[in-house]
Symmetry: C2
Subunit: 344 residues, 2 copies
DNA sequence: GTGAAAGCGCTAACAC
DNA sequence: GTGTTAGCGCTTTCAC
């Protein structure tokens, strides 16, 4: 078997209690003793069994990270940020990738995460009430990104402000018919981004004295393909918009695709603004609202660590700012308006 | 505290051994007894403590997954494939995201993964000999994707064939000056993809009777930006290539960017072929060599599970085929050759 | 400052 | 088919 704490104790000529204390850096160990233990441990290439430690201490030193899809840009970014701070703090990261709907159901049904983590980080954005209850039933600190859940710590961006900035930019360029491609505002999913970005869109219109036209608002589901379909719908309108704000870059990519298919050029014929500043946004020259995703992962991880150490500090909901990145996909409306008439 | 196996035993009127056997589905339990145990467990909402089980059984039922960057498309895809089969098989997935070079060094130095997993899946492609030794020292089954390591199970694609197919396609279109943008062939990293894709490139040229011109081969490092820089170098040649094969889509994206910056159109002025079939390849209309990444993750995970159950089946190195996907970024060379002269 | 000993909550022999 | 019991390898009191 692997070398155990007893082997180290024997070699260092001390008791296993002293070995435990020394190696964990606890006080009340004479410097010389500690040194002898370190040497013995090194010589034996000793590593404490984490599972034995967990059993004895009651702590798991592990955090569960639940994501819908590791493959989606946003989640991968968030995980990497969270992983860094958790790992640094000595925590193990148990990954639960939900995948499809069936996987999601299975997870919340069986809760395989129970009893194996000290806290949970749920990046699974649209959370139903039942799912939230399942997490709550674990009785460990929990945190989310991009949503606000009572009792959970959370980190999110200023979605309203971001949406407003994007649309204000389009309006400043002279656009008056600005389309919106929103994510699905499923309720009660506690996923507030779609609704808030839309609020930002409307607020910007109102501030500019431009009437809100429901015909210009189309729903997608945050995938590229849904963006393409939505844009096709907008292009089919009698009076298509001269600019579009997509609530995510991936949907904006779909918009770009629809434009190309229609023989239109982004930034000239139709302006397009996205949201996220996806890695590919720069390549595609997409104007977008940048949000620092790895940083959100870091922040939420730190919030979790805080919840773990201190005595019940009420979970905070942090909001961090976004930044408009103007690129080539937005420009003034085409000189000869596609149709001279205005709705009103 | 949480409800323990004793609570269940008491409630079901049996011993803890019977509870253990019943819940784990072991034989030699009377159906009625098992049922009573199940009911009691359900009523108490009992979940066995995984860590106690690990201590007692010696198995960890966990696998460590080591990746350089979760955020890179390839790794995220591979993880999702592997996660699915591991989770289904009841394994926990411990994620180790190396991040930067420092993180990598720290990991292989401290090996925080020791004693906590039954096997390791290393997606960390370019592996040094020292790193491989660190993994070996764990004395658990290990597997890799995209490389071949003695003693480790592995899954990879036919890189030579893929590269050859891409370049053959370009040659068939009539191109005679075909550039190569390769990944860095760092040795001894055991990461064979760059070299093999290059071999495919050269093989295709030779088969077509086109001489290999070292001036047309430039190195990148698999990032988009390195692809952009490499393409700029190729465009600066006296006789720039009319077609380019990039060893990864991300580098090909950089190529597309360089072309646009130079006022050139992909597929008309210069043909571009990539490798991977990245999510964005379709949007960017990039001809590429598709490789099934999640499937590779699944396969390698299954190989690991096999290594875990059966008695030492010698680790296999599997190779799976690729598929050429022709899109708009490749076409015949421009009719009036940029420069009429030919090298030879 | 250090050691002895009692668990932590299971699994796995072994006995019945 | 079921129960008893001895660990698994630590942490944590509590003495000294």
């Amino acid at each position: 078997m692997a070398t155990s704490i007893e082997d180290v104790a024997r070699r260092a000529g001390v008791s296993i209690a002293t070995v435990s204390r020394s190696l964990r850096g606890l006080p009340d160990v004479a410097p010389g003793t500690r040194e002898r233990v370190f040497v013995a441990a090194r010589e034996l290439d000793y590593v404490a069994s984490p599972y034995a430690a967990r059993l004895a201490s009651g702590r798991t030193d592990a955090v569960g990270v639940v994501v819908p899809h590791v493959t989606r840009w946003f989640f991968a970014q968030a995980i990497s940020g969270a992983e860094r701070v958790l790992r640094e703090a000595g925590y193990d990261l148990l990954l639960y990738n939900l995948g499809n709907g069936a996987g999601r159901e299975r997870f919340f049904d069986r809760m395989p995460i129970r009893r194996r983590v000290d806290c949970v980080l749920v990046l699974c954005l649209p959370l139903t009430d039942a799912e939230i209850d399942s997490i709550r039933a674990m009785h460990v600190p929990a945190a989310v990104i991009g949503a606000t859940v009572p009792g959970f710590a959370s980190v999110r961006i200023d979605d309203v402000g971001g949406g407003e900035a994007a649309v204000a930019h389009l309006l400043e360029l002279g656009h008056r018919r600005v389309g919106l491609i929103s994510g699905a505002p499923d309720e009660p999913m506690h996923f507030t981004a779609p609704g808030e970005r839309r609020r930002g869109y409307r607020q910007a219109l109102r501030s500019a004295g431009v009437p809100v036209d429901p015909a210009l608002e189309v729903s997608g589901d945050f995938t590229m393909d849904s963006g393409r379909v939505a844009m096709e719908r907008l292009l089919a309108l009698d009076e298509p918009p001269t600019a579009v704000f997509a609530e995510s870059d991936e949907m904006a990519f779909g918009v770009l695709r629809a434009l190309r298919a229609a023989g239109l050029t982004a930034g000239r014929d139709v302006s397009v603004a996205g949201f996220d500043d996806h890695d590919m946004a720069e390549l595609l020259d997409l104007t977008t609202v940048a949000q620092p995703v790895p940083e959100q992962g870091e922040l939420v991880a730190r919030a979790l660590l805080t919840a773990l150490t201190r005595k019940a500090p009420p979970p905070r909901a942090e909001t961090i700012p976004t930044r408009l990145v103007v690129r080539g996909s937005t420009g003034p409306p085409p000189a000869p308006a596609p149709r001279p008439g205005r709705t009103r």
